[in-house]
Symmetry: D2
Subunit: 383 residues, 4 copies
C-alpha cells in the first residue's frame, strides 16, 4: 500500500464532504449524539497527531497543547476530555483555525511518511485511516441531523446521489441449514479488534430475506396502528414511543396529509420504493413482530451475507454487542476503541449509502444504542 497516497485520499475525502457546508453549519450540536462538524475535522487530525506524530516523529512540535483538551473524544487515557454535550458550545477554535491545524498536521504526516515506517506504526496508520472513514460517515449523518432539524430545511447538496446497489426484487427467503458456522474475520487486511477471533457458532436452520423493508411496507405498519399497539414492542421500546411521542421514522413529516422526508436535497415526498431508514432498534423489532417475523442474529446475518446484496442500510440485528471468545482490549488508549462499549448496545451489520467505499466488510460489527435513529439504519427480516 502506498501510505502517502492512502493518507491523502482519506484526508481529502473528509474535506470534500465538508465543502458543501457554510461556516455556521460546522458549529452546532443539536443533540448529544451529533457532534459539530468542526469537532470531527479537528478530532481526526488530533488522532494522527497524538498517536503517530507525537510518539513516533522525532522533533515534531505539537501544534497547540490546548487542542488535546478540545479534540479528544472518549480516550480517557489521554487526558481530561471536553464533556461531549459541551462540544456545541465552543465557537473557538474557528473553522479556519482548524483547517490550519489540519494543514500543519498533514504536512508533518507527509514528511513522516517519506521516511521508514515500522510495522507497528503502519498498523496505527491504517487504524487512523479507518477511524477517519468512520468520522466521514458520522459527518454525513450529523450534517443531515443539523440541517434536517432546521426549520428552513436547507439542502446539503442538490447533486447528492446515493451509490447504486442492486437489490433485485425477489421476495423468496434464503434458506440456511442448521449447523456450525465460522464467524469472525480471517483475512490478511485490516479489521477492528471486535471482529477478531474467528470462532464456531452453532445455528439452527433459518431463513433470511434477500430484500430490505421498504418505505411502502413500513407505511403499512404505521397505517395499521403499529405505533399505538404495545403488543409489538419491548416494554422499554413502548416507553420510548410514548415518552417521545414517536409516530414515524426520523425525518418523516406529514405535510398536507402526504408523507415527506428530509433528504440531502431538502424536504421531498417520500420515496416509497426506497428501503426504510432512520429507525431505532425498537422500531425494527416492532415492525418484525407485527409481520410475525424477527430480525436475524449477527451470526445468521454473517453466515448468509454472501447470498444477498448489502450496503444500503446498517441492518439492526437481534444480537447484543458482546465480545467474541478470547477478545482482549489492546493496552493503552487504542484499547478503548471498542471494548468499553460492549454493553447495552445492539450490533448492526452491513454498511449504508454514506459508508465510505471499501470501509465495511461482511464481518464488520457496527453498534448503537437501541433508541438511536440518526444513522442510516434499516430492516432485514428473518424467520
Amino acid at each position: 500500500m502506498d501510505l502517502t497516497a492512502r493518507y491523502k485520499e482519506v484526508r481529502q475525502r473528509t474535506e470534500k464532504i465538508c465543502s458543501f457546508l457554510q461556516t455556521e453549519d460546522y458549529v452546532v450540536q443539536p443533540v448529544v449524539d451529533v457532534s459539530p462538524p468542526k469537532w470531527h475535522i479537528g478530532h481526526v487530525t488530533w488522532f494522527f497527531e497524538t498517536f503517530i506524530l507525537k510518539p513516533y516523529f522525532m522533533g515534531y512540535q505539537e501544534y497547540n497543547p490546548d487542542y488535546n483538551y478540545v479534540f479528544n473524544s472518549y480516550y480517557e487515557t489521554v487526558g481530561t476530555r471536553v464533556i461531549r454535550t459541551d462540544r456545541g458550545n465552543l465557537s473557538r477554535p474557528t473553522v479556519v483555525e482548524i483547517y490550519s491545524y489540519r494543514k500543519y498536521v498533514d504536512e508533518a504526516m507527509e514528511s513522516f511518511l517519506c521516511g521508514d515506517v515500522s510495522d507497528d506504526v503502519k498498523e496505527l496508520l491504517i487504524l487512523g485511516f479507518n477511524h477517519e472513514e468512520q468520522h466521514q460517515e458520522l459527518l454525513m449523518t450529523d450534517i443531515k441531523f443539523i440541517l434536517g432539524h432546521n426549520p428552513l430545511f436547507p439542502a446539503y447538496n442538490k447533486s447528492y446521489v446515493a451509490p447504486h446497489i442492486d437489490e433485485g426484487r425477489d421476495d423468496a427467503f434464503i434458506k440456511m441449514d442448521e449447523g456450525i458456522y465460522e464467524i469472525g474475520f480471517t483475512g490478511d487486511g485490516f479489521c477492528f479488534d471486535n471482529e477478531l477471533n474467528c470462532h464456531k457458532v452453532y445455528l439452527n436452520a433459518y431463513q433470511v430475506s434477500p430484500m430490505l423493508v421498504t418505505n411502502a411496507e413500513y407505511l403499512e405498519f404505521i397505517n395499521s396502528g403499529g405505533y399505538h399497539d404495545f403488543r409489538y414492542w419491548h416494554a422499554e421500546g413502548w416507553d420510548w414511543v410514548k415518552t417521545n411521542k414517536v409516530e414515524a421514522p426520523l425525518y418523516w413529516h406529514l405535510v398536507d396529509n402526504e408523507w415527506h422526508s428530509y433528504t440531502y436535497h431538502g424536504l421531498e415526498p417520500l420515496h416509497l420504493k426506497e428501503p426504510v431508514t432512520h429507525i431505532s432498534y425498537f422500531e425494527a423489532y416492532a415492525y418484525a413482530s407485527w409481520k410475525g417475523l424477527r430480525l436475524p442474529t449477527e451470526f445468521e446475518w454473517e453466515a448468509a451475507a454472501g447470498k444477498f446484496n448489502w450496503g444500503r442500510r446498517w441492518e439492526w440485528t437481534e444480537s447484543s454487542y458482546l465480545p467474541y471468545p478470547g477478545f482482549a482490549k489492546a493496552p493503552g488508549a487504542i484499547g478503548e476503541y471498542n471494548g468499553k462499549f460492549m454493553v447495552n448496545q445492539k450490533v448492526l451489520r452491513g454498511a449504508s449509502e454514506v459508508t465510505p467505499p471499501g470501509h465495511s466488510r461482511a464481518t464488520y460489527r457496527n453498534f448503537f444504542q437501541t433508541n438511536l435513529r440518526w444513522q442510516f439504519t434499516g430492516i432485514r427480516l428473518a424467520k
Copy 2:
C-alpha cells in the same frame, strides 16, 4: 401434585415473610424498582383472581373492580396500570383490607380447586405459584431496601439465617472442553417460556471458578482503587460510578473506618468470608477486568453448572437477555411475562439465599438491568 396443598403452602410462605413487618413497612417505596410490600401481597392475589377465578370459576364475584387498577403490574393487556412510581403514594387499600382480599380469594381458590381442573388451568396455576415465589424473593429484597435505607437501620428479623450451601474452598478452576452443548429446559416439570427450546450452542474451551468472589476479595479491589480507575469499566459503567459516586456495594457503610453492611439483623461488621453481594453488573465486570479474568456466558454457566454448588447468589453473566431460537410469546396477557423484557438486560444464573427453595434450576434465566443492585447478586469468574 396436590394443587390445594401447593396453593396453601405458597400463600402461607408469603404471609410468613411479612409476619416480621410493621404496618408502616408495607407502605413505602423508596425507589422505583422497590415495590411496597402491600402491593406485592395484593398483586399476587390479583394474579389468581384475574387469570384463574374470573375466567374459570363460574359465578365468581370479583372482590373489588378498583383493585384491578391498583394491583396490576405490567400487564398492558388487562387494563390501565398504576404507574409504577406511584405505588408508594397509595395509603389505601390498607394492609388489613388487602389481607381481607387475600382471604376472600383464598377461599374462592380453595373451592375452585376442589372441582375438576383442566390441564390448561393447571398450567396457569403452576405459573401462578411460580409467580408468587418470584414475588416472595422480591418481598425479601424490597424489605431489605426499605429497612436498610432507614437511618435507624432496624432489623427485619434477628433470627434470620440464610440456608446453608457448602461451596467448599477449592480455588482450582473447572476446565470445560470445546464443543457443542445442549442449552435450555428439557424435563417434564415447570419452566418459564424463556428457558424453552433446548438448542445446541458451540463453546470454545473455557474454565470457570467453583467459588464465588468473597467480600474479602472484593475489598482488595476497592482498596487497590478499582472504583477510581476507568480502565476496568465499561464507558456506561464509568458514567454510572461517577454520577452516583459509587464507592462500594450497596448496603456497605464505613463506620469509624471499619466496613459494615446492613443485613436482616441490622448493621453488622462486614463478614469477610461471605460471597460479595448487592453489586451491579458494571461492578461484576469491573472486578473481573481488574483480576484479568471475565464473567462466564450463560451458556458456559449452564454447561458447567453440575460441577459446582450454586444457589447463594444470582450470578451475573456476560450474556444479554435474548430469546432462544424459536422463542415465541404466548398470546394474551401471559405472553407479556418475559418476552417484552428481552432488551438491554443481562442474564443472571443460579439462585440466591432468598430464592424460595425449589424455585430455581440450572436452566433458570433471571435478568436485570446492568445498574441494579438490590437483588442478592454475586460474581463467579471465568477465563
Copy 3:
C-alpha cells in the same frame, strides 16, 4: 394564660385531627410539599423537646437522639436534616412509637410547666403553640392531598363540616381612600416576627370586593377558554399551565361531563356557590386579568380587612413576601422561622376553613410559592 391548659389543648387538637386516619395514611408523601402525617406529629413534638425541654428542663433525658435527625425540618442550625423528599420513604419510627414519643414529651412538658417559667421561655412556648397550629393546618391539607390522590378517593371524615363564616352576598366593591395606612402588628399578644415593625404605607385610592370568587364564577373562566389564552397569564404561569397540562383547580375531576371535586367527604359534585379553592397564584392572577381586574396588595388587604368577613380561604395577594422595614432575624434556630423564605414567594392573607380557630389575625402573613395549590387558597378581587 394557663400554659398547661393551652399546651394540652393544642396537643389534643393535633391528635383529634389524626384520629380519622388509618396507620397507612400516616406514612406516605406523594409530593415533596406534602409531609407524611407521622412526620408532622413527630416534628411538633421534637420542637418542644429541642427548644424547651433540652435547654430549660434540668435533668431532662432526651427520648432518642436519632429522632433529632428524623424530625428536624429546615432548622439548619440544629443538625443535619433528613432531606425533605426522603420523608415518605421512612417506615420507622412507627406511628405507635411516635405516639409514645409524644406521650413522653407531653409528660415532661407538663412537669416542666408546673414549675416557674421565665418570660423568655414563655415566649418560646407560645411560639411552639402557634407552630403546632400551623402544622395542624398542614396536616389537614396534606391528608387531603394523600387521600385525594388515591384512585379509591376515600373520605377523610364523613362528618367534617367547615366552620360557618357569613360572607353575605353584596357585590359592591368597598372603596378605600388614598393616603397613609399603618401596616403591621401592634397589640400585646403573640405575632410572628414577619408581622412586626408596624410602619406607614402610602396607598392610592382603591376598591376591594367584599366577596370571594365562587366556583360558579371560576367555571366561567374555564368555559371561556381561560386556560388556553396566554394573554391572561404571566410568562412563567403560562409555562406552568402548558408543562403541567393544567385545566382546572386541584381536586377537580370531570366525571361523565360533570365537574366534581374531592372533599373531606370523598368525591362530590362541585358546590357552585362555594368560594373557589386549591388554585395557584398563577391561576388567581389569570382569573383577575380575565375579569379586567387585579389582586389586592397585602397592604390594601390589611387596610380594608375590617370591612369584610374573611377566614374561608387564604387569599393570594399581589405582594411578594419581603421583610418589613427594620425586620431582623432572631439569633439561632428560631431565627430561621421566617426570614430565610423571603424570596420568590407570594403573601396570602386571611385564613382558611382548616386554620385553627384564633390562629390567624388581620396582620398575619402567610406565604407560598406561586405554583402551589394544595392549601385552601382563594381569590378576592381589587381594582
Copy 4:
C-alpha cells in the same frame, strides 16, 4: 429628534459590537439565557419589520416569512416562536444572510422615515430604538459568556475600555429622611411602561452607601467562609449554592492559588478595586447579611439616586418586580414587553458599563431572576 439619524446610529452601534466576532461566535448558545449573537441581530431587525414596516409601510414586501418563525422571541401574539433553548441549534440562516436581511430592512426603514411619521408610529420607533439598545447590552453579556466559557479563553477585544464613572471613595453612608417620596417616571421623554404611573411611597429613614462593594471586599466574604455558612443565605439561595457548588462570582477562576477573572481582554488577575460583578441576587443578599446590612429597596434607591454616582453595575435591590399602581398592559404584542414578567424576579436599578450611553435613567427598572449572574450585576449596601 432626527429619526433617521437616530435609527442609523442605533443600528450601527449593534454592528460595531459584533465587528469583533468571528462567524462561529455568532452561532452558539451555551445556556438557555444566552442567545446566539446572530439571533440578536436578526431579532432586532425583525422587530422593526414586524411592528413598523409590515403594518405601516405601504407596499412593503416581507423579506422572508420563515424569518418570522426564527427571529420571534417571546411575543406569543405574533406566532409560534422557536423554543428558546433551540436557538443555538440553528446554523441557518447564516450570518451573511442575516446581514443581508438587516440591509434590506434598513433600506426600507430609511425610505419609510423619509415620509411622514405619525405620533403613534414615532412612539413605536422609539420603543424599537430602546429595544435594540437592550439587545446591545445583551450582546455584550452573551458574547462574554460564550467566549468566557471557552477553554481557550479568547479575548473579545483587547482594546475594550469600560466608560469612566467616578465613584469617589467616601465610605460615609448617605442619610435619607423618613417621609413620602414620588416614585416613577414623570418627564417628557421615553420610558418603558413599567416606570409609568408616578406615585407616592412612604419610606422610613434609611441610609445608603455612596460606593459599590469592591472585589477586595467581596473576597473577604469568600475568605471568611461566606459560601459555606447557611445563616447568610435564603433557603432557596442555599440550595442554589449547594446544587451548583458555587464558590465565587461567575468568571472567577483560582489559577495557581491566585484569583483571576475572565474579562473582555481574556483571563486576567482579579482587579481588587473594581466593583464586584457577575453575582446573583442570592449572593448580593448573603454578602449584605454577612455585613449585618441589607440591600436597598428600589424606592430607596430611586429616592437617593441623585446623591451618588451610578452606572457601573446593575444594582440588585430587595424589591420584587411588581406593577406600579395603575399599571396596565398595552393591547397586542407590545403589551407583552414587560407585564408578563412581573413575577418571581427582582428589580435592579442603575446601569452597567455595557449599557448603551443614555439608555438608562434613575427611574429605569431592570429585572432578572434571583439566580442569574451573566449580567454586570453589583451590590450597593443600605441600612
